[in-house]
Amino acid sequence: MNTPRAMSGAEPVLLPPSGVLASLRRVVALVHRYVYLLRSSGVRLVELIYWPFLQMLTWGFLQKYLAETTSPFIQAAGVLIGAVLLWDILFRSKIGFSTTFIEEMWSRNLGNLMISPLRPYELVAALSLWSIIRLGVSMVPVAIAAYFFFGFNLLSLGLPLAAFFCVLVLTSWSLGLISAGVILRYGLGAEELAWSLAFLLLPICCVYYPVSVLPDWLQPVALALPPTHVFEGMRSILLHHTFDPRELWWALGLNAVYLAVGYATFSWFLSRARINGTLLQLGE
């Protein structure tokens, strides 16, 4: 079976189904499916940019107002716009992961995927890769617009920006895996989780204010979340022009734990869906 079956022209030439190359082929096939989907609808493409753009404008004008009435220091640092753009990396990546997964359920295609040679980890890899591609489509134009409208250059964060990006995207995948698992088990009735789970982090991971603002008992919880270290790091760079790389290592270590928990949760819910027979009856 592992050798290609080549006969007449009409006969399918089947490539070996296992190994790294076979996995890559299936991931690429699934990413193609998502590209086709995005290309099929101009509205989806506009929507990808619309919300981050609106948010950037709102916070940008607020920052401008604050700078005029209170401290010019804030405007110079671009703390609010920086926070908005970094938060959107986390939020949009999470939404990209979850809604792409939900799309398979809306289209009742999950059964077809699950009986194909596609492994669950390949599905996760395709969703993760696609969330980054979507993020690029949505965030690059908005980051450029932030420069033209408010003179904020996201690249001014320097090399740590790449590390911030990694930490935020990895966290978004952990959240995406957990919400995909829950939706897989409980159906589209749990769809709201895809949208709301990231917001649970918003007040705790100190997007717009330092950790010191939180009550003492909540600070350890905040520091146990990888994005908190990103937002603290961003403020440190923009306000004090210093950056402690140990914070990032700590955040990446936490991410490894959360990703393992996320994948274990997804796998567990997938096995429960197989036991409960919900893979063929996905709906509300």
């Binding site: 399918p12 096939a29 099929s40 059964g111 009986i115 040679p117 596609l118 197989r274 027979g277």
Partner: protein, 282 residues
């Protein structure tokens, strides 16, 4: 495939390579809490045969097929497809199977060609464009290739679903109500294509259906399910004969309505049998 037993023991004879047996089911059971959907069923399907799972609503047909595909985990029992234990190693044989069902769809926004290309990638088909062109011609969907799948009629969608199911030229094809909600002409056309495919490739087909005419036409063997149990496992002709009925539909109605199976009619009356009229007179 390290979980493949080398031999098939028991009713089909020892010494057979399990990898050659398309489907082997032993004591398969599925319980959902207090409800038993499939109750300890066992059967084997030989290569190149078409077997129909027949039964009323809730008889356990779809659940049985889903367990064969690895979509549902059995509560007890064993499913082996080409020797692979489907609970643990379904990826070893996934490339040799395919499936069509009204319970699953292809993404509606993608064109037919895009959908087929995606599945060609998932099944590892190197000559995807060539294969899609051949299947499209064979199933007469060439004109549909660049149309959005969601905008097709029910009959067109069924043909496209079948194209996806035949893309990898599966050795085992599982079909759940393949002609449900189709007009008689389209349904007949689909059956014809399925017959051709099975005959040309010596493929094994397992189909679940309510349609007796379809089963009589396609199936070499019928497994009748009722309340999750196998109540008959015979050829369509033998079933009709055993029940003394004219059609499989009559047999099905007898069974689901609980009418007793009539005693088989002897071919020739015994020599000492009393003529009916004489017996009545006495």
């Amino acid at each position: 495939m390290n979980d493949v037993s080398p031999n098939l023991q028991g009713e089909n004879g020892a010494g057979r390579d399990l990898a050659c047996v398309p489907v082997m089911v032993r004591g398969l059971t599925k319980r959902y809490g207090p409800v038993t959907a499939v109750d300890h069923i066992s059967f084997t399907i030989e290569p190149g045969t078409t077997v129909a799972l027949l039964g009323g609503n809730g008889a356990g047909k779809t659940t049985s097929i889903a367990m064969l595909l690895g979509l549902i985990m059995p509560s007890a029992g064993e499913v082996r497809v080409f020797g692979a234990d489907m609970s643990r190693n379904r990826y070893g044989v996934a490339q040799r199977l395919n499936f069509q069902s009204p319970y699953v769809d292809l993404p509606a926004r993608l064109t037919v060609r895009q959908n087929l290309k995606v599945y060609a990638g998932l099944y590892g088909i190197a000559n995807a464009a060539e294969r899609i062109a051949y299947i499209a011609e064979h199933l007469q969907i060439e004109a549909l290739l660049d149309r959005a799948t969601g905008k097709l009629s029910a009959g067109q969608k069924t043909r496209v679903g079948l194209a996806k199911a035949l893309l990898n030229a599966p050795d085992l094809l599982l079909l759940d109500e393949p002609t449900a909600s189709l007009d008689p002409d389209t349904a007949d056309w689909i059956r014809h294509k399925l017959q051709d495919y099975a005959a040309e490739r010596n493929a094994t087909v397992l189909l679940a259906s309510h349609n007796m005419a379809e089963v009589e036409r396609l199936a070499d063997r019928v497994i009748l399910l009722q309340a999750g149990r196998i109540i008959e496992d015979e050829t369509p002709k033998a079933l009709v004969k055993n029940y003394g009925r004219d059609t499989l539909e009559d047999v099905f109605l007898d069974l689901v309505r609980g009418r007793a199976k009539p005693a088989p009619k002897p071919e020739h009356p015994p020599a000492d049998a009393e003529p009916e009229q004489a017996r009545r007179a006495s």
